[in-house]
């Protein structure tokens, strides 16, 4: 009797449009938010924050962004790594060029810069579709990385081409650089994530979201019923790149501290985020969280299990680890092609029918 929508009658369209129409879900959501802001800071230690939680938060932002592009608007992109690099280098140039600019603005501006670049590389999507579009985004990926490793201006002419984030503060507390504490890193990433997830939710449930989905499901029909493909695709590229740029800026400035385009933002990154989106579930906000968690926590937990607990050699463990990750991807897809989010929905539907099997 726990999980029921019966009794939850909607009296207005507003309440029907709620993010969590079922009361149980809604309370669950407040609970999670409460835990994230109030309880987690108390119980997290440095290792878990740094090894797992902060990257999870950052990659969730990237996955949200990519999910908007692929999951909602149906435009396949493999340029995530390149766009994250734009965010990272933009934040580096802003941080070093305007030392007094607050880091929050730096990160937002980096997102905007990335959005611009995203729109530029999104232009071919008006003509090119599906896997063919992947080439346009791959071109972006390789070109951007090349640009950042070849143009000294981007790394302030440092001899090695590495960029390092100087210390910046929010309310006097350092959030970037070596002196930033795990807690402050956690908090800034969490705030960005919660805000951006909320915006993503709003965008995807409104008109723009429906335009994106219409383009995704059947672009020709969408155009005939009045969706402007140019506008929808480019807004999707812009919003998605904004998120990815913010994620790139956070990854560089807050998490890594130092980076080099080719190494930190290579094609692997594009694939990693793509995995998250697909494993989590295309076209689902929750999916971005689930996918990022699966792919960030999975390897770390496997490593801890195999190496630290079972005492296996690291290389054996690492080989097994990629095999297991690969196998898990396949198994998830076979179980539910639409990812963890869909799996979760099915479970909820079952719960709703419980105790009847169907």
């Amino acid at each position: 009797m726990l999980y029921r929508e019966a009794g939850d009658f909607k009296t207005s369209y507003t309440s029907d449009n709620q993010t969590f129409p079922i009361r149980f879900d809604r309370y669950g959501y407040y609970f999670v938010l409460g835990v994230a802001f109030l309880v987690m800071p108390l119980i997290l230690n440095d290792y878990w924050t740094n090894a797992l939680v902060v990257p999870f938060l950052i990659y969730t932002i990237a996955a949200l962004g990519l999910n908007i592009l692929i999951g909602y608007c149906g435009q396949l992109s493999l340029g995530t790594g390149g766009f994250m690099a734009v965010g990272a280098y933009a934040s580096y140039k802003l941080m070093t060029g305007f030392p007094d600019l607050n880091i929050i603005f730096v990160i937002l501006l980096s997102g905007l810069v990335t959005a611009g670049v995203g729109v530029l590389f999104g232009l071919p999507s008006l003509r090119i579709k599906g896997f063919y579009l992947a080439v346009a985004t791959l071109a972006a990926q390789f070109f951007l990385i090349w640009l950042f490793t070849r143009t000294p201006w981007f790394f302030n002419y440092s001899p090695t081409g590495m960029i390092s984030a100087p210390t910046r503060t929010v309310f006097g507390i350092p959030v970037t650089g070596a002196s930033a504490s795990a807690l402050s890193m956690y908090m800034i990433c969490l705030v960005f994530l919660v805000a951006l997830a909320w915006l993503a939710r709003n965008l995807t449930r409104g008109t723009l979201g429906r335009q994106w989905m219409a383009i995704r499901d059947m672009d020709i029909a969408a155009e005939i019923i009045g969706v402007n493909p140019l506008w929808s695709k480019l807004t999707a590229f812009a919003v998605s790149s904004f998120y990815i740029g913010v994620a790139g800026a956070l990854l560089f400035a807050v998490y890594l501290g130092a980076a080099e385009a080719g190494e930190a933002f290579g094609i692997d990154k594009s694939f990693l985020v793509l995995f998250m989106v697909i494993i989590g579930g295309l076209g689902s906000i929750f999916g971005a969280f689930a996918g990022a968690f699966f792919l960030i926590a999975g390897p770390v937990l496997l490593k801890i299990m195999l190496v630290d607990n079972l005492g296996w050699a690291t290389d054996l463990a690492a080989h097994l680890e990629i095999m297991i990750i690969g196998a898990l991807i396949i198994v998830t897809l076979i179980m539910e092609p639409h990812g963890i989010a869909a799996l979760w929905r099915t479970i909820k539907e079952k719960l709703r029918l419980w105790p009847f099997p169907y």
Partner: protein
């Protein structure tokens, strides 16, 4: 003749053969895409795996030795005998066919009628799995692969061009061989897909899994067939690339070089893979030759993609790909 022109010609000629090397990898992609609409990301890893298996068999390595040793505390490495190259190749072909069967049985059978992106994702999962498996089975060290194909500067080309132009062109013998093998391979595959009943069935499956099932095409058979073929193509690619730069992890990354080739030629066209390879090969070599010094070199990674992109703007389905049907 002015030197620049000669040099450019040399670069272009090398581009042609380099393009063929890319095309070898692209061919495997095309086969699978044609037959199932699956964009097989694991093709590169398949090439690596095939090459690893070939070397392993050739040198009599014990598979999973590392794992066995770790578990049982043994110190196994080699069987102590080696296999002749041809036998090792035959053995690898068998392994690739078994692999194809397993892939169908345990993965794609369960993913019939799913969207292309889901299938694509599954192949990425497969790529991971296979990469780990390859390392676990044969170890991660660099291995030397020698199947008896000569390597190094082709003297014949050098001499001929010297007589013609007074400047001897450099061409790699291995790449010339690769061109020959690719030509044979493409010929055989074109005949297979255009002139046989199975060829037509392949295209039907790619269009609509469900409808193909409804006319009695056995997806299982078709898929095992094309994955086996793709496995063999991967072996050829792995052999050529492995001979060039050793067999090790990076071999799988050649898939990234094959993508623009594939896209430029069109996903569904076997000859397209070759033509695409040639265009990309020549294009990137010439671009690097003329523009590289001006903009800092190492342009090859992105130029191929940019070139493919420009072509796509004019032909969204690639040069020889099937037209994308847009109707309501």
């Amino acid at each position: 003749m002015p030197d620049t022109l000669l040099f450019a010609m040399e670069a272009a000629a090398n581009g042609l053969t380099a393009g063929v090397m890319y095309a070898l990898v692209a061919l495997g992609f095309v086969l699978i895409f044609k037959a199932s609409g699956i964009f097989n990301f694991s093709q590169g890893v398949m090439a690596l795996f095939a090459a690893l298996t070939l070397v392993g068999l050739q040198s009599g390595q014990i598979p999973f030795a590392h794992l066995i040793n770790a578990i049982f505390g043994t110190r196994l490495h080699y069987f102590g005998f080696t296999l002749p190259t041809l036998a090792a190749i035959a053995g690898t072909v068998v392994v690739m066919i078994v692999f194809a069967w397993l892939v169908e049985r345990y993965i794609f059978r369960h993913l019939v009628n799913q969207e292309p992106i889901i299938l694509f994702m599954a192949t990425i999962g497969l790529a991971y799995f296979l990469e780990g498996l390859g390392d676990l089975m044969w170890g991660a060290e660099v291995k030397r692969l020698d199947v008896g194909i000569p390597q190094g500067m082709s003297l014949a080309v050098d001499e001929t061009t010297f007589n013609w132009f007074g400047y001897g062109f450099y061409m790699d013998t291995l790449e010339l061989w690769a061109a020959l093998i690719a030509a044979i391979l493409v010929g055989a595959l074109v005949v297979f897909s255009q002139y046989t009943k199975q060829g037509r069935a392949l295209r039907a499956v790619a269009d609509d899994h469900q409808a193909a099932l409804s006319v009695g095409i056995s997806l299982r058979f078709i898929w095992v067939l094309v994955w086996s073929l793709a496995g063999i193509v991967a072996l050829v690619a792995g052999m050529m690339w492995g001979a060039k730069s050793g067999v090790q992890f990076s071999l799988s990354l050649i898939a990234l070089k094959a993508l623009p080739v594939l896209i430029l030629g069109g996903f569904t066209s076997i000859p397209g893979a070759i033509v695409g390879g040639l265009i990309i090969g020549v294009g990137e070599k010439l671009f690097d030759f003329f523009m590289g010094p001006l903009i800092g070199g190492a342009t090859e990674n992105w130029f191929a993609y940019m070139l493919a992109l420009v072509f796509l703007l004019f032909r969204p389905q690639g040069l020889f790909g099937e037209k994308i049907i847009e109707r309501v």
